[in-house]
Structures are given as structure tokens and as C-alpha cells.
């Protein structure tokens, strides 16, 4: 996309997010989720990665994922609009007419292990099936069972039915691309969440007075927020560079960069949200406040696809990418 065109698309998503943002955990209701998902579908973002070559770059998709994470939204942009269409594109299979797939993950939300392990349909608001990538690159489709409880109140997860059928197969390069893309998109949403929550806590620190002055004037609070800013910038640099790598470099290099980005985000997005909660103080502990929605998203997000332990083990080994 041309920059101007992308800015337009992002602004669309931004105003959508302002309109459908969840004000508190009490707003998260199935009826509202369905309405928001329908409105999101009308933005046509699922088309961005459906064609070859895609209409949007990975960098642009990553920025949209950041945008989706920045306000509390109960919609499934990642699963249904970004991840599943890209997977079908990589496999070379068109989407079945009238079907909206999302992706299937292992029950612990990591990349699926060898079949037949129990699966869940992750980010399944508005979805009616889920695509699963097995370790050998085989892509299968599974039907959806009832909703499964999730700590991340903004994310719909459903159980997957045991029967599945093969949709296609990723070639080795496609498999690397898929893993890199998924890691980048998931990491980017968490970056957006951490960035936005820290910004909101900075705004609060400017207004909230204690001892007759704004808490943001205390150096202890300033340093806490400065450190959170450093973490957010580190996450941003890592995820945007990984996205660029997938657009321009070999899939091996891009996957290495994507793993680095997810590892950084797993650690730092959570830390940044902790800092923001500390600034909000006691109010952040209430059900009505949005703080716990962000905390839930980044805390669960840090385990999605690949945990820090998974990633550090791989990244400690030298690889032949240079």
C-alpha cells in the first residue's frame, strides 16, 4: 500500500477502536462482541493478505495489530482477519465461500504439537472453523465446539472438535514464514497494548495529585515511567524490525528476528503494564478499571505461540543465518 492509503486504513481501524472499545470488563458480553465483530468484518481487513502478492505488507499488518491492541477490543482481528487468510495464502488454497476461519493452537496456546493433541480455536469471535498447522507443515481444518473460559477476557477461545480434515501443506519456506508471521502479529498486538497502557498511565500521572502535587512530578514515579518507556520502545523496535525482515529478508532471518521480538515482548510488555498499574495505584485493582484487561492480555499473550523459555533455548544456539 502507498503510505497515504495505509494511513487511511489505520485511521479506519483507529476510529473503529474508539467506537467499539470496551469501557470495563462488564462490557464484555457475547451480543456486543458479535456486533463489534460484524462491524470489523465490514472494514474488509481480511482481504489485506488474501491475494498474492498481498495488498498489505507484513509491516503494515503488524502496525494494524498494534492498533488493535492499543484499546480494549473484544474483536478477533488477529485470528480471522490477519492470521487465517495469510495461512491459506501460503498454502495456496482459497477460503471456502461463506466460511470464516481462525487458527487453532495447542490447549496451552502454544504452536500445536504433533497430532492428535487437544486443540483450541484461538481468537474465534465470528469464526466458524479453525486452521491448524502441524509440526510437519500439514494444515488441517477443525470444527468449533463450545466457548472455553479464557483469562484474557477480550479474547474468545472455543474448544476444537476432534475430527479434522487436511486443507493443504506448507512447504519448508512457507512454514518458516508462517511461524515468523504469527509471532510478529501476536507480538505486535501486545506492543500496542503495552504502549497504550503506559501512555494512559503517563496521562494519569500528570493529573492525579497527592501531597498537593501531581504524582508525575515525583522522581520515583518519573523513573518508573521512563523505564516502562524504554521497554515499550525496545518491544516496538524488535517487532517492527522483524516485520520488515519478513517483507525483505530470507524466511530464516525473519524467523530469528520474530523470535527475538516475541521474547522481548513476552518479558517487557508485561513489565511495562506492571509499571502502569503501579502508577494507577489501587484503582487499577478494581474490576471496573481497564488495567486488568491489559494485564490479562499481555500476561496470556506472553505464553501464546511460544513462551520465553521456548524462545531463549532456541536463541541461545548459534544458527547459520549470516
Amino acid at each position: 500500500m502507498e503510505t497515504e492509503e495505509f494511513v487511511l486504513v489505520r485511521d479506519l481501524l483507529r476510529s473503529f477502536a474508539t467506537r467499539f472499545r470496551v469501557g470495563s470488563a462488564d462490557d464484555v458480553k457475547p451480543s456486543l462482541g458479535a456486533a463489534a465483530q460484524e462491524a470489523l468484518g465490514e472494514l474488509g481487513l481480511a482481504e489485506l493478505r488474501r491475494s498474492t502478492p498481498p495488498a498489505a505488507t507484513v509491516q503494515e499488518c503488524a502496525l494494524l495489530a498494534e492498533e488493535h491492541g492499543s484499546l480494549p477490543l473484544a474483536t478477533s482481528l488477529l485470528g480471522t482477519a490477519l492470521l487465517a487468510p495469510e495461512l491459506l495464502r501460503l498454502v495456496g488454497v482459497p477460503a471456502a465461500p461463506g466460511r470464516t476461519p481462525t487458527i487453532a493452537l495447542a490447549r496451552d496456546l502454544r504452536f500445536p504439537a504433533a497430532s492428535p493433541s487437544p486443540l483450541v480455536a484461538w481468537d474465534s469471535e465470528g469464526a466458524d472453523e479453525a486452521l491448524c498447522v502441524l509440526p510437519d507443515g500439514t494444515v488441517t481444518a477443525v470444527g468449533l465446539g463450545p466457548a472455553a473460559p479464557s483469562v484474557d477476557l477480550l479474547r474468545t477461545i472455543r474448544t476444537a472438535l476432534p475430527s479434522q480434515h487436511v486443507v493443504g501443506r506448507l512447504d519448508p519456506a512457507g512454514h518458516l514464514r508462517w511461524q515468523a508471521y504469527a509471532l510478529i502479529v501476536v507480538a505486535s498486538e501486545l506492543v500496542g497494548a503495552a504502549r497504550s497502557f503506559v501512555a494512559q498511565s503517563v496521562g494519569y500521572a500528570r493529573e492525579r495529585a497527592q501531597y498537593g502535587r501531581p504524582v508525575g512530578s515525583f522522581q520515583a514515579v518519573q523513573h518508573l515511567l521512563a523505564d516502562a518507556t524504554v521497554l515499550v520502545e525496545a518491544c516496538t523496535s524488535a517487532s517492527r524490525y522483524a516485520a520488515w525482515s519478513l517483507d525483505h529478508e530470507s524466511p530464516q532471518r525473519a524467523l530469528a528476528a520474530a523470535r527475538v521480538a516475541k521474547a522481548e515482548v513476552n518479558r517487557s510488555a508485561v513489565e511495562a503494564v506492571y509499571a502502569g498499574m503501579q502508577v494507577f495505584g489501587g484503582i487499577a485493582q478494581t474490576w471496573e478499571h481497564i488495567a486488568h484487561l491489559y494485564l490479562r492480555k499481555v500476561r496470556v499473550g506472553a505464553t501464546v505461540l511460544a513462551t520465553t523459555a521456548d524462545l531463549l533455548t532456541v536463541l541461545a544456539e548459534p544458527e547459520a543465518t549470516r
Binding site: T3, F6, V7, T57, Q59, E60, L63, V202, A205, R206, R213, P214, G216, S217, F218, Q219, V221, Q222, H223, L225, A226, D227, T229, V230, E233, A234, T236, S237, A238, R240, Y241, A242, W244, H248, E249, A256, A257, V260, A261, A263, E264, A309, L311, L312, T313, V314, L315, A316, E317, P318, R322
Partner: protein, 381 residues
């Protein structure tokens, strides 16, 4: 910092440069450090060799002795040096940027080619015994007398002044005004009458740090860099670039050590504790994040954004990467602690200074709070 897609350069173009550089490296082996040869002397030989191949100042315009390429080309060269275990990139990027921005055309034409070639070695005279991170507390004074200045004062932490020809010196030119308008920069030749350089022995045994005594040193008007009162913005520009690991050549240094740690993971697969393996993985993450961050900031700079107060973020990330890296290296190579005097332990000690030099970590946090986040002032000076 920008929020639209970033241009990290044309990979094909950068790869061509990498190939060209690798070919050159293969034909020009690294110099060996002679027994007892001081590190700066050895690095200076390396600097001149690199320059002879056209590998210094890639992003400096050609008329000033550079190659007129972009900062991303400089990143690629730094990367390659790190990857092949070469000595670091000459640390002149931040000084060159200060001259590019503030020096007169005449000074740029005269000074930059010699700086890039290593014909003149520069050091930086900012800190003072009474003013380290707090530049506003500076007391060295340059008194104006008709067409020249007379400078009196003392500088501290001027790295390798004993091996340098010129010092980018900051001095007050107005005792009354605010520090933001009363500091002026000069290019001081260190052999000028009245200049005394005294090396200090550092905790790691090196004699990098020097004291500089200035007793009625005469400086010509033509040796002033920028206008009177430009010293503060010049210092801010210099330290902004100094805080990007790319400009100081630190990236290649870290990359080399991270690779060394990662190869021990393969070599000692059976005996390396899992905890240490994760810690090495974390060093790799810190390092790669720093590379990504340096590239992002470089891309932003190329799109026209100056290295502003966000450079404090760069400095804190660099400090994080460096301190964890050397901490981990001592765990991977514990013999360095038992035997003492190892090179690695010296570098570890120096890593502890990362949170002090170039403005302490606390100063960087203050700068982020005030100038990036615009938090309310504490009401104290």
C-alpha cells in the same frame, strides 16, 4: 518516534556492500596487537587500515572525506566487523556528526577528512570535576580578548587525551547567562601552550581516563566551533549520537561476545546448566533488540528526524545489553575471576561504567520523563 512503516534500507544494496567489505577484509588481515602496545595505538592502526579501504565515515558526504552513503551502510559495516571478530569500528561517528552540524564549512573541509583518516585523533572535553552528568555546572571559562580567547579550567574523563591531537572542548563564555546559552565549543589542539594532560589509572587497570588542566590557553576565534553560546545544543547533539550503540561502534563489540557465548552453548551442551543457557539466550535477545533499535533510530534519522531526547532510551537499552552481557560472560567463563587480570574481567569492570558515562542512567530517566513524556516538573532545579 515514527509510527508508519519504516524503511530499513534496500537489502540487495546493503548485501552488495557487505560482499564488497568481506572481500576487502579477506585481503586485509586484522593487525596483530603488539606486546605492550596500548589499545588506543593498536585501534588507531586499525582505523587507518579501514580508512585506506574506504570503510570509515560511510555516511559522511564525500567532500568531507566520507563516502556519501547512508547510516544504514554504516550499520552493515559495523555488523560485518562484529560477525567476523574484527576490532571495533573507530568511535568517531558522534564527533563527526557534531562537526557536520555545527562547524563552519571551512572547518568541516579542514577537520573532517583528517578525523576520518585518523590523521588527527580527537577526544571530548565535556565533563569536569565539579560537573559530570550536570553540564550546566561547568566552570571552565573562555574569556574573550579582541580576536581570541583565553581558557582556564579543568576537565575530567577525557578518554585517551594522551593519544589525541585535538579536543572538542566546552567552556563557558558568559558567567551570568543560563547554561543553555553561555557555553561555547572549541577545537583545542592538545599541544597548545598551557595544556597539561594527566592520565588516571582506572579500576580495570587501563589508563583511558585523563585529566586536562587548562592554564591560560590561547584559542583563536577560528578554533571556535559554531557561534558563541552554541555549546549546549552541540553537546546535546554529540551525546544524542553517542547514545546510539551504532555510532559508538559498540554493536559490533557486543555481537562478537554474544557469538562467543553462543558457541559455548554448542561446545558445552552436556555440561552447561539450563539456567545459564537461558541467560545466554537472553543476551542474544538484548543484543538483537539493540541492533533492531539502532536500525529503527537510524531509519528515523534518515527520514529527517534528528537524534533528539529519545536517545536516552537508546543509552538505557545499550546499558541493559552491555551489563547483562558481561555479567553472563563471567558466569560462562568463571576462570576469568579465578585468574584475575583477564581481558574479559577488565571489560566487565568497564561495563559497570556504562550506567555512568555519557550521562548516568538516572539522568537519562530524568530526560525521558521531562523531554519525552513531558511529566510535570518536580519544582526543584
Amino acid at each position: 518516534m515514527t509510527d508508519t512503516p519504516l524503511d530499513f534500507g534496500d537489502p540487495a544494496d546493503l548485501n552488495r556492500l557487505r560482499t564488497e567489505f568481506r572481500t576487502w577484509l579477506a585481503e586485509h588481515p586484522f593487525p596483530e596487537r603488539h606486546l605492550d602496545e596500548p589499545v588506543p595505538v593498536f585501534l588507531h592502526r586499525w582505523h587507518r587500515l579501514l580508512h585506506s579501504g574506504g570503510w570509515v565515515g560511510l555516511d559522511v558526504p564525500e567532500r568531507y572525506g566520507g563516502r556519501g552513503l547512508t547510516a544504514l551502510h554504516q550499520v552493515a559495516v559495523s555488523d560485518e566487523l562484529g560477525a567476523c571478530g574484527a576490532p571495533g569500528v573507530p568511535r568517531i561517528g558522534y564527533l563527526a556528526h557534531a562537526l557536520l552540524e555545527f562547524a563552519s564549512e571551512d572547518q568541516r573541509l579542514r577537520m573532517l577528512p583528517r578525523m576520518l583518516a585518523g590523521d588527527e585523533v580527537w577526544c571530548q572535553g565535556f565533563s569536569e570535576p565539579g560537573a559530570g552528568s550536570d553540564l550546566a555546572g561547568m566552570s571552565t571559562f573562555a574569556e574573550r580578548r579582541d580576536d581570541h580567547y583565553v581558557v582556564r579550567g579543568q576537565k575530567l574523563w577525557t578518554s585517551y587525551a594522551q593519544y589525541s591531537d585535538l579536543c572538542l572542548l566546552l567552556a563557558r563564555t558568559d558567567r551570568e547567562g543560563s547554561p543553555h546559552r553561555s557555553i561555547t565549543a572549541f577545537a583545542l589542539p592538545l599541544d597548545r601552550a598551557g595544556v597539561t594532560v594527566r592520565p588516571l589509572r582506572a579500576a580495570n587497570g587501563d589508563d583511558e581516563f585523563c585529566e586536562l588542566f587548562l592554564d591560560d590557553v590561547r584559542l583563536e576565534e577560528s578554533e571556535r566551533v559554531g557561534s558563541e553560546g552554541d555549546g549546549w545544543p552541540l553537546a546535546m547533539t554529540t551525546v544524542s549520537y553517542e547514545r546510539n550503540a551504532l555510532d559508538t561502534g559498540h554493536l559490533s563489540k557486543y555481537g562478537l561476545l554474544v557469538e562467543r557465548l553462543r558457541s559455548t552453548v554448542r561446545e558445552r551442551a552436556d555440561t552447561l546448566p539450563d539456567g545459564l543457557r537461558s541467560e545466554i539466550g537472553q543476551c542474544q535477545v538484548d543484543y538483537e533488540v539493540l541492533v533492531a533499535h539502532a536500525r529503527r533510530r537510524t531509519a528515523e534519522r534518515l527520514s529527517g528526524q534528528p537524534a533528539g531526547p529519545e536517545s536516552s532510551v537508546d543509552k538505557l537499552l545499550m546499558t541493559r545489553a552491555e551489563q547483562r552481557l558481561y555479567e553472563t560472560a563471567l558466569k560462562v567463563f568463571p576462570e576469568q575471576l579465578a585468574e584475575d587480570g583477564g581481558e574479559l574481567f577488565g571489560e566487565y569492570l568497564y561495563s559497570r561504567a556504562a550506567s555512568v558515562y555519557g550521562g548516568t542512567s538516572q539522568i537519562q530517566r530524568n530526560l525521558i520523563a521531562k523531554r519525552v513524556l513531558h511529566l510535570p516538573s518536580s519544582g526543584r532545579p
